[in-house]
């Protein structure tokens, strides 16, 4: 099975989009599912959010962050990935939620925002509100990759206020919550921001479902590396998640454990740079 890259483009200076042939994943994809990629035979297995799936291909948003994502950025259209596995994880139920928000502030969250808004908007009775936060004007994705076309209300925010509303999605949500405008919130992206979101929404009793990133290897429930604690009970992000009730999650544990391989990640990056002669 080859996984040929059919489209690739920059979303901003840090993030890029990649579309690959993955018929098995595309055929069964539901919004909220993720894929596991292996770029080269000696590569790691990395979980990746999916923006959309069509015609046997899936599109993912990726940040140039570590060795694998930077290496993958060096791939061009018609190059092939070693493996694209999935769809993985449990998607949320696609049903009538009423006033439903999807908020995101990072690459993976933006992909999920797009996928879920698009699906939820098709369901009668849903009023879909999408909020996307970027650091600054220059970081905003091209219009066609944003969720604006798939929601009833759209809010774009920048942290520095250079475009759209100034602030983070949590700032806007406060008003919505005060006005009793929201029935359920989905969110994805930066984990500390999701923790803040949980703190914000809890007093209002608004269900808040967030996508958790945790370190995975097999992503099939075998290693236990992606364990998180939901109301004190151990769950695995790969097979029980990746979406969990934010009000029950132990965020400190998640944030802590995400740092476990930090040193190794920089070592991998240095080694890759030396090997490829990059600076």
């Amino acid at each position: 099975m080859t996984h040929r890259i059919t489209r690739k483009k920059d979303l901003n200076s840090m993030d890029y989009l990649i579309e690959v042939e993955a018929p098995m994943v595309a055929e069964r994809f539901q919004p909220g599912n993720f894929a596991v990629l292996i770029t080269v035979p000696q590569g790691e297995r990395i979980p990746m959010s999916i923006q959309k799936a069509e015609d046997g291909k899936i599109t993912m948003f990726i940040k140039r962050l570590g060795k694998t994502s930077i290496e993958l950025d060096g791939f061009e259209v018609d190059d092939s990935l070693d493996a694209v596995i999935g769809p993985m994880g449990n998607p949320p139920e696609l049903k009538r939620y009423g006033n439903v928000v999807f908020a995101s502030d990072l690459v993976c969250g933006h992909a999920e925002n797009y996928a879920l808004c698009k699906a939820l908007q098709k369901i009668e009775g849903n009023h879909v509100i999408s909020i996307q936060t970027f650091p600054s004007k220059d970081d905003i994705y091209p219009q066609e990759e944003l969720s604006e076309a798939f929601c009833d209300e759209y809010y774009l925010t920048t942290l520095d206020g250079s475009q759209g509303i100034k602030g983070h999605y949590t700032d806007i949500l406060k008003d919505f919550l005060d006005n009793g405008k929201v029935d359920i919130i989905f969110a994805g992206g930066d984990i500390p921001a999701l923790r803040d979101l949980a703190t914000l929404t809890k007093p209002y009793g608004v269900p808040t479902i967030v996508t958790v990133r945790q370190i995975m290897i097999d992503a099939t429930g075998m290693c236990g590396s992606c364990r998180v604690f939901v109301d004190g009970e151990m769950k695995l992000t790969c097979i029980d998640g990746p979406m969990f009730d934010a009000h029950k999650l132990d965020f400190e544990d998640i944030i802590n454990r995400l740092a476990m391989f930090k040193k190794k990640e920089s070592q991998a990056m240095e080694y890759y740079n030396r090997k490829t002669g990059a600076k």
């Binding site: 099975m1 098995m24 994943v25 069964r28 292996i38 000696q42 590569g43 790691e44 297995r45 060795k67 694998t68 070693d82 493996a83 596995i85 999935g86 769809p87 993985m88 290897i217 097999d218 099939t220 429930g221 075998m222 290693c223 236990g224 590396s225 364990r227 604690f229 151990m234 097979i239 132990d250 544990d253 802590n256 454990r257 740092a259 476990m260 391989f261 040193k263 190794k264 990640e265 070592q267 991998a268 080694y271 890759y272």
Partner: protein, 461 residues
């Protein structure tokens, strides 16, 4: 009996000081002469007990006799009649409690080294490109085998030899199941596993990787596409201790530790991408084969002090004798009669130690081993920077959760009848998915039994 014959032909091994720095095989294998000499020690019992103790009833006597004569090809073919992967079972079977444990020679001298002779034959065939000559009559019926570990491999081979169209589905990106992700290369070199899998493909078994039944392929779909199904999904999910501190960094399930190392080759980081963080003082909880594997991996990753933390004593350890011995030679320290009560950490969230309670041995329990009994007030702490929990595994619920129609036991093992058929017509199961965790050879035997049952089922007998 000549004095010489009392003693086994010694197995050459990598010297300890070398092997603790690499992941290459520790035993170097018998040469042809050594294998013949070892086989010639066999007294060819009239009623070979070794064969009755073998879970797949290999014709050991005849096999050893042929080796003694130097007829290696014949010996190999005899081994293959009952055991499709002698190169693997020879390395991982607990021979001391099976064939070698009951060997007549063993009563007064060293038992015949049946395991290493089996491994020799497998290796010899691989090196000399000797394979069985098969005449496979085509049958149209299609069978899906889920899981490419020992049970799946043996089931797939037998069914393919009978002529069926066999598709082997593997969830991971590399086939072999526990043979690949679980057992380290210093015990079972991966080229041997890859070779055996390539032999499967050679005889026409279709191996499909990244097919996660229950996740991206459903059992129902398979039932529509195939005439029969064998589930050999193993027991690949970790058990956790459920004690305080389990979320600390530096705490691994043995599965994670070994998957990083064996499947993802973290020992070759950064050439391979997947990292592992292993400190200087490593505590392994448990004393079975997996614990020994994890401990010996830690030594090879450069850990200075590696402790086996066990609530019984060495004597009760369920590990293979050879693994235990190798572990001790490699400097692993047995901390006997201790039970973990909590893990200690620092403010950054890294594990710094473990609190243990001293135990003593009491009356035998159901396993026949003395029950460890807690000594009240004996808690003490031990400084550690890495903890690996090797308390065993259980069947993966990813598959079971998505197949509620499949009847399971209270601990999640798939229920089967004496023909290894599950409650679903035409769906069979075996190996660790039904036993909860046994040996490679047990799984291999059940894969074969299931293959025979599937054959009967498809013939309508």
């Amino acid at each position: 009996m000549a004095e010489m014959k009392k003693i086994r032909v010694p197995m050459r091994e990598q010297p300890v000081e070398n092997r603790i720095r690499n992941f290459d095989s520790v035993p170097l294998g018998y040469s042809e002469d050594e294998a013949m000499a070892e086989a010639q020690r066999c007294i060819q019992c009239k009623d070979p007990a070794c064969e009755t103790k073998c879970p797949v009833n290999m014709k050991i006597r005849k096999m050893v006799e042929r080796i003694a004569e130097g007829s290696f090809k014949e010996a190999f073919l005899i081994a293959k009649e009952d055991n499709p992967i002698p190169a693997i079972s020879g390395r991982v079977c607990p021979q001391e409690s099976q064939c070698e444990g009951i060997c007549t020679m063993g009563k007064k001298a060293d038992a015949i080294n049946i395991g290493k002779l089996g491994a020799f034959l497998g290796d010899w065939a691989m090196q000399n490109e000797v394979t069985e000559e098969l005449h496979i009559d085509k049958r149209d019926k299609r069978i899906a085998v889920i899981g490419s570990g020992p049970a799946g491999i043996s089931c797939a081979i037998d069914l393919r030899k009978l002529g069926y169209q066999v598709t082997l589905l593997e969830a991971l990106h590399i086939a072999g199941g526990v043979l690949h992700y679980g057992i380290p290369a210093f015990r079972l070199p991966k080229d041997i596993v890859d070779y055996e899998l390539s032999q499967l493909q050679k005889i026409g078994v279709d191996i499909r990787l990244n097919n996660i039944v229950g996740q991206n392929v459903m059992l129902d779909e398979l039932r529509q596409q195939f005439d029969a199904i064998f589930i050999g999904t193993g027991a690949g999910a970790p058990r956790f201790l459920n004690i305080e501190g389990e979320a600390l960094m530096g705490v691994y399930s043995a599965n994670e530790f070994l998957i990083r190392i064996n499947l993802m080759k973290a020992y070759d980081f950064p050439e391979h991408d997947t990292p592992i963080v292993c400190g200087n003082r490593v505590g392994i909880i448990g004393a079975g084969n997996v614990a020994m594997d994890a401990a010996r991996c830690a030594v090879r990753l450069g850990a200075k002090d590696v402790y086996i933390l066990y609530r019984r004593t060495k004597k009760e350890s369920p590990a293979r004798e050879e693994e235990l011995q190798h572990a001790l030679e490699e400097g692993i320290i047995f901390e006997e009669l201790v039970n973990p009560t909590r893990l200690l950490g620092n403010k950054d969230g890294w594990v710094t130690g473990i609190e243990l309670t001293r135990m003593k041995l009491g009356e035998p329990d159901r396993s026949g081993r003395p029950r460890p009994v807690k000594i009240e007030g004996s808690e003490f702490t031990m400084e550690l920077d890495t903890v690996v929990n090797a308390l065993g595994t259980k069947p993966n619920r990813l598959f079971l959760d998505k197949t509620p129609e499949l009847e399971v036991t209270s601990w999640g093992g798939i229920k089967v009848n004496e023909k290894l058929m599950t409650n679903i017509e035409g769906v069979f199961a075996g190996g660790d998915a039904t036993s909860g965790g046994a040996t490679v050879i047990q799984a291999l035997g059940e894969g074969r039994t299931a293959a025979a049952s599937i054959h009967d089922y498809l013939l309508g007998t």
